[in-house]
Subunit: 346 residues, 2 copies
């Protein structure tokens, strides 16, 4: 019996805002048995991430930087982090039924090639979706970005943009656990309420309701910003730099405002950067795999004790991937966007 | 006998390009004897620096940052680093005839207030002007900025803007001594020849002859830039970031293109900053006084052995200060701009 694999790919390069019509659902026969050191995984949860848009562009300076940011040509399979169940294994250390996390794809089944790392998911007391979310790359990005790039000290004032998103929502919680004062911004009342209520941010605001971001930040940070965790770039970065304290640090994690509009650029005042001795640093979680154990142990513990919460926004079915992805750029998601493409049982 | 002190001040706030007519020469009677812990210094060499322009503006974000960048109101005396000779001392550790370096002013004599550091200049084998230049704040800025902010490794590719200027010319020489590949840019053929000839840069170019800075840098750095020592900001910073290698570092030392034009702003591509994990860091030499001994010893040794050269562009007389200062923004100076306002003897 031939098993059919449904997958989503982009029909052409996507250079501005993506829309559902840029994508198509296709089918291909699934390879019946794994080759040596290959593993066939039935995908369960896929992580849906804004950075993938840069891979679909005709040109982006990200293409040459690292493998995980490489260009994807139209029609090609789109690799993506996720959690799945081994259905057939050519690797000695994995067997049928094992739940694994790693680079899978926008498809129902992934044939995982030799050399691709698959991490066995063995915690029975945490939802497996967490391994595509708070215990996956989003979590490591938040952890490494906050602790290593921002180097927080207790009592420091932390500002986070896209604060209800997959990374921002975790940075805010790490910052609160570190004794910082934390303010986040987001794009709706619902999100702002969530930040202040459920996630324990000290304050939060809807950036869409602020005519002047610079004065808004002056209001929320009368004593200035020590750390800005930037997920959006553009005007928000400029406003944050203008409100930073001496020796302030900016973790440049994402620039979602600029992904969809190459003409949109942050131009922070260099006179501020010089005289306030501000550091801006771009980073990627792939450079922090050495922190994975520490991150994973600490974060699992926080989750078990209820000291951290994982926000998940789950769509169901491989056909919902395009809408899930496009929605990221409309701000539809509340917390980490995941697509459940398969069930653990069966 | 009353001694008269000539000084230069700005007549009004200076918000765009400065011109000679923004300044005036005035006289005031000199205090006849020092108060307790005061020192009266006859100024010999004054350091003429672009950052002073920010202090003369109606508003600059630099004003509140640190004392040395504080706002100067029109008509006020303008403090400035320099070298002078003690003519009367109320401090036990200094006596008449001592040569000292420290914060003096755009004037013939400075009454140095209690608390202001004056460093005794005792090396007899180096010109005293060096203490307002390569062995003063310009030198410490180059040393700390290159070694601490840029963290160079042997063989790395270093780009320097305003490379024949007071700081750039020293950074290039430190970089060559560290085994780096060094390219500088400057604004005239004479300066370019100097960089390649006298200062030993591997290559240099005249930015005014390059229609497209991004492709110019691609030509000069076919293997990419590891370190960019930025003295100018604006379009050059954007072009450098576009040509940087992964884990590249930018020392944001100055932004002379932006000092005279608040509308001119660098907008480097954040996608480059993220994917290439670039760090941009603003810094000031005042934060590196703990390196002063090491800097001063190493640099004096390099100068004595002829391994480093100090470029000096000296005007004579207090009345030449406005032209010396204004010339910085026209690129008139070749190397460190100094004004000799008095003679050591007499």
């Amino acid at each position: 019996m031939e098993v059919v694999n449904k997958y989503v790919s982009h029909k052409h390069h996507v250079d501005g805002y993506p829309s559902e019509s840029d994508f198509e659902l296709a089918t291909t026969p699934l390879q019946p048995a794994p080759g040596s050191d290959e593993v066939i995984v039935k995908n369960l949860f896929l992580s849906i991430d804004p950075y993938q848009l840069n891979r679909m562009k005709r040109y982006s300076s990200s293409h040459t930087a690292i493998t995980a940011a490489s260009k994807i040509e139209p029609g090609q399979r789109i690799d993506a982090y996720g959690v799945g169940k081994v259905v057939a294994s050519g690797r000695a250390e994995l067997e049928e039924g094992d739940v694994v996390a790693g680079l899978l794809g926008w498809e129902q089944y992934t044939v995982v090639r030799p050399g691709t790392v698959l991490m066995k998911v063995d915690a029975k007391d945490l939802p497996i979706s967490y391994y595509a979310n708070v215990l996956g790359p989003s979590g490591l990005t938040a952890f490494a970005g906050f602790y290593d790039v921002c180097k927080p000290k207790k009592g420091e004032k932390v500002f986070i943009s896209a604060a209800s998103g997959s990374v921002g929502s975790l940075v805010g919680q790490y910052a609160k656990l570190s004794g910082c004062y934390v303010v986040g911004c987001a794009g709706s009342k619902q999100k702002v309420d969530l930040l202040k209520g459920k996630l324990g941010f000290d304050d939060a605001f809807n950036y869409k309701e602020e005519a002047d971001l610079k004065s808004a930040l002056r209001r929320y940070f009368p004593e200035g910003i020590d750390i800005y965790f930037d997920n959006v770039g553009a005007a928000m970065l400029e406003a944050a730099v203008a409100n930073m304290n001496p020796f302030g640090r900016v973790a440049v994690c994402g620039a979602i405002s600029e992904y969809t509009n190459a003409g949109e650029r942050a131009a922070p005042d260099l006179i501020d950067i010089i005289y306030k001795r501000i550091t801006l640093r771009g980073f990627l979680s792939v450079d922090y795999l050495h922190l994975h154990e520490q991150f994973s142990a600490a974060t699992s513990d926080h989750l078990r004790r209820g000291r951290m919460i994982a926000l998940e926004d789950v769509s169901v079915g491989i056909e919902s991937v395009p809408t899930a992805f496009v929605g990221l750029f409309r701000g539809d998601n509340v917390g980490k966007k995941l697509v459940r493409v398969g069930e653990l049982e069966g």
